[in-house]
């Protein structure tokens, strides 16, 4: 359980002066994995984000333009 322990220490650090985790959730991936593999990959993701190496933003860059659904149906 080495990776689980490492992830736990990262997400629930000691001595955080009142800061605390309220909730954690995950979206599983495309391939079946072991708990250790999952923890290792998730740990790497949290480290990326917390060290400022992730692409962080307040909004999502959409690649589509919204259209009225009638256009979708009228093209039948």
């Amino acid at each position: 359980m080495k990776e689980m322990d490492r992830l736990t220490k990262l997400l629930f650090p000691e001595g955080t002066e009142g800061s605390k985790v309220i909730d954690l959730k995950f979206f599983p991936g495309e391939q079946p994995v072991t708990v250790e593999e999952f923890c290792k990959d998730v740990h790497a993701a949290f480290v990326q984000a917390d060290s400022g190496q992730s692409q962080s933003s307040e909004w999502f860059a959409e690649s589509t333009t919204r259209q009225n659904v009638d256009r979708f149906f009228s093209a039948m």
Partner: protein, 195 residues
């Protein structure tokens, strides 16, 4: 405001896709979750698509009891846009999770992870895992509102449109569009009852 209020607010939508930013704006405007940051992360493998972390951080001076809530949403930067959209909305909707559905201790984390990577519910019920399994469908209820979903189903059933075409128009993963269009009557009531 509740998850149901979020779903209701998009129920009269006539333009698609519902954009992720519309959902983010609604959550920021109608809940205590003002600080929401999206993190596109590189994945070492495809073991996970996304994650959610909500933290309470002391605000103000030493003797203040005020706290600010910081919400982080993680998604694989290599995911296709339709998956990114579903993952982000699924994760951000967890701001509505009640205390019993939250994972806030190492013990709960150790309980959650085996439950969600198994892709099926087994053993004694663990409410946070049950909640996580419902998450993508809670997002689908917002991203493809019921009225439009029903119109899409009519078109699919008549053969004039395919699930693939609907998924492309809605910018959502085909596998979830297929389930949502064909099994929503069974799934939908559970979304508002589950923790």
């Amino acid at each position: 405001m509740s998850y149901r209020a979020l779903v209701d607010s998009f129920s009269a939508e006539v333009d698609l896709p519902v954009h992720v930013n519309q959902v983010l704006a609604w959550v920021r405007e109608n809940t205590d979750h003002k600080s929401i940051l999206l993190h596109g992360v590189s994945r070492e493998s495809t073991s996970f698509r996304g994650a959610f972390r909500r933290r309470s951080v002391p605000a103000g001076g030493m003797y203040s009891h005020d706290h600010e809530i910081y919400t982080d949403v993680f998604y694989g930067e290599d995911l296709a846009d339709d998956w990114k959209r579903l993952v982000i909305v699924k994760e951000v909707i967890h701001v509505f999770d009640g205390p019993e559905a939250c994972v806030d201790t190492p013990e709960k984390l150790a309980n959650l992870i085996p439950s969600i990577i198994a892709r099926q519910l087994s053993g004694s019920p663990f409410l946070p895992a049950l909640n996580d399994h419902f998450g993508p469908f809670r997002a689908m209820a917002v991203l493809l509102p019921a009225a439009l979903r029903d119109r899409m189903k009519e078109a699919v059933d008549s053969g004039s449109r395919t699930i693939s075409e609907v998924a492309t128009f809605c910018q959502l993963p085909e596998v979830y569009v297929d389930i949502w269009i064909n099994y929503a009557p069974e799934i939908e009531p559970l979304l508002f009852e589950a923790p």
